[in-house]
Symmetry: C2
Subunit: 344 residues, 2 copies
DNA sequence: CGAACTGCGGAAAATGTTTTCCCGACCTCG
DNA sequence: CGAGGTCGGGAAAACATTTTCCGCAGTTCG
């Protein structure tokens, strides 16, 4: 049947009760309704096939059941892992996730935030990694406070510095520890696939790696640091450039796993063997990439858990004046893509 | 300042015009508003920081800007590729995607559909693959007609048989063509990772493969057909079982790439080399898995495009009495994971 | 036995928009 | 100059709920 619109009023009339009573029965309320009326209402609702109008409820209650999730690219396994965690917590709470993708443009991120605000989203998880530009960060902070002025709460993954709760992976320390491991293997000449110049996550990992090198008294040849897109193809492309510049590096660190994947492909296409001719390491430990051959040495982040936790932060409505921070430590995972250098 | 709620009424009062005029200026309308008032309203709106309340608009217009997307598991690259396509079209149209995950339970799928209906979603893309059970299919069909009775349109990816537009990959033909290629390599004894018994996609691929074998006069040893989860670990597990049963197969077909990935890992852990000791083929050509070694022979589906197309079908509001079907052909991609059998 | 309280039901206001009427002003054409 | 038309503006109804307030009955307590 389902001929269209069954409203609460029709249900109330059919059951011979008032709108108020029907509302109290069918959607939660603090108040009790007598047994007989209660049954009459549920029976009518079922018979007519009543389904509450979510917009009307949102309007009347002035709070929705929507949780926003903003990522750069949902096809990127890094983000889809986080998304998986976010949806899990949200759905466990009976909420619905609205997904926005930025395509890595800060402008789009602001638009999405405004859209979510206009939908009265109860919470938002911002998983896109921030750029280092002042201007956009400032406008983002404005949007966030605007959203906070309504009931909406927001949580970020991976970027401190915004006025919001944040799940912060140890990009710096993880990369440093990875670097120490690689140094321990005997490597002294490193190449770095640094990703985009303005991405904070990329910068932090780079910094961490770099500082560990410095601490060990290792110089980094600037020609061995190459910037490019934060994607598989970006990694491939950057590695090609390294090779055509005849790099002297024995070990290559890509700031994330997907770039490292591209790097391995480029090395292979260039006739080099991993790890015999070049060791390769990444960051993230993307589940889908764990079956690569050789297995990628990387820094494991619990991505799904980070998504879950961010959603929890955003949903939990405790009072807290200061933005909270949940640190997440990365664990170095050693696999076959790294080995002592040939000349060691 | 964004101290909270700025309503259209406040804007109207601030600009000294009626609610109607303010509405016509700020949100589209067929009617024109005089130049001076127009400017006054936009100025006031900007000054006060007005942002329309989406629920109120949905309620008044009786149509929302939401597009539903239902998948089994957003962390699965198959679904995240499709999701990427869906979000792209939706966002191009200025719409917002709400994402629901079923965890592969049909019951949850129905719940999500009801939720989306209650939100007056303008369109829904159903990407989860259907089971073969009559009962759930029937109830799903009911939900779909209920949604259609409102303005909502729905489109499916991959499963014909529901009263909705569908993007249909050639699971059967693709698998058959793949089988013919493998037979051409000289294989005669095949093992099949069949996935879950009740999943239509899995069944169709299996059927296609099987029919090509039959056509070539090849018998399939039932002990070489093993069922398991539609996941990487399912593939791993199933392959272990094959190996411990001392399969005589020379070529293994997994009904999707993620299972094939698990299979390759299990073979390697079992001391077998791919393709020397066993050829392996999959289905889908998941982008993230293209860098596997050896490269996986598979059937390529344009997953992102399929998502885009499904969203287009669901959004396009032409009249059409019959459900439409968009066939998508898969292309066999030969890579290094398959080779002639050792005894050929 | 009356006053205060409690439990349950309904009327109606409130939520923030869109949209349908209606009305007045101006314009055009016969 | 008047009839008919268009154009721009506003009042108010509609949209589907929730929630506040009011009142009635029955109960309890002093």
């Amino acid at each position: 049947m389902g001929s269209g619109y069954v409203t609460l009023e029709q249900v109330a009339r059919h059951a011979g009760v008032s709108l108020a009573t029907a509302s109290r029965v069918l959607n939660g309320s603090t108040r009790h309704v007598g047994r007989s009326l209660h049954e009459r209402v549920t029976a009518s609702a079922h018979e007519l096939g009543y389904l509450a109008n979510a917009s009307a409820q949102t309007l009347a209650r002035n709070t929705s059941s929507l949780v926003g999730l903003i990522v750069h690219d949902i096809a990127d396994p890094y983000f889809s892992s986080i998304a998986s965690g976010v949806t899990r917590t949200a759905e466990d709470e009976g909420l619905v996730v609205v997904l926005g993708t930025t395509g890595r443009t800060p402008q789009r991120e602001l638009e999405l935030l405004a859209t979510l605000r206009s939908h009265r989203a109860r919470a938002v998880v911002l998983a896109g990694s921030r750029t280092i530009e002042e201007e956009t960060t400032r406008r983002l902070a404005d949007e966030i406070t605007a959203l906070g002025a309504r009931g909406g709460r927001i949580a970020c993954v991976s970027q401190e510095g915004l006025p919001a709760d944040t799940v912060v992976p140890s990009n710096r320390d993880g990369a440093a520890e990875l670097a120490r491991h690689l140094i321990g293997l005997g490597h002294r000449r490193f190449a770095l696939l640094a990703g985009p110049n303005n991405l904070r996550t990329a910068r932090d990992r780079l910094d961490g790696f770099h500082s560990a090198l410095s601490a060990a008294g290792i110089e980094l040849d600037p020609r061995n640091v190459v910037h490019g897109a934060f994607t598989r193809d970006g990694g491939y492309e950057s590695t090609r450039r390294l090779l055509s510049a005849e790099t002297d590096a024995t070990c290559l660190f890509a700031v994330n796993d997907v770039m490292a994947t591209g790097a391995v492909a480029a090395l292979r296409d260039g006739g080099l063997q991993v790890p015999r001719d070049m060791s390769v390491a990444g960051f993230d430990d993307i589940p889908t990439l764990r079956d690569l051959t050789p297995g990628l040495t990387t820094v494991r982040l619990p991505l799904e858990w980070m998504g879950e936790e961010a959603a929890r932060l955003a949903l939990d409505d405790d009072e807290h004046t200061e933005p909270r921070t949940v640190p997440v430590s990365g664990e170095v995972v050693v696999r076959a893509s790294t080995a002592p250098p040939a000349d060691a």
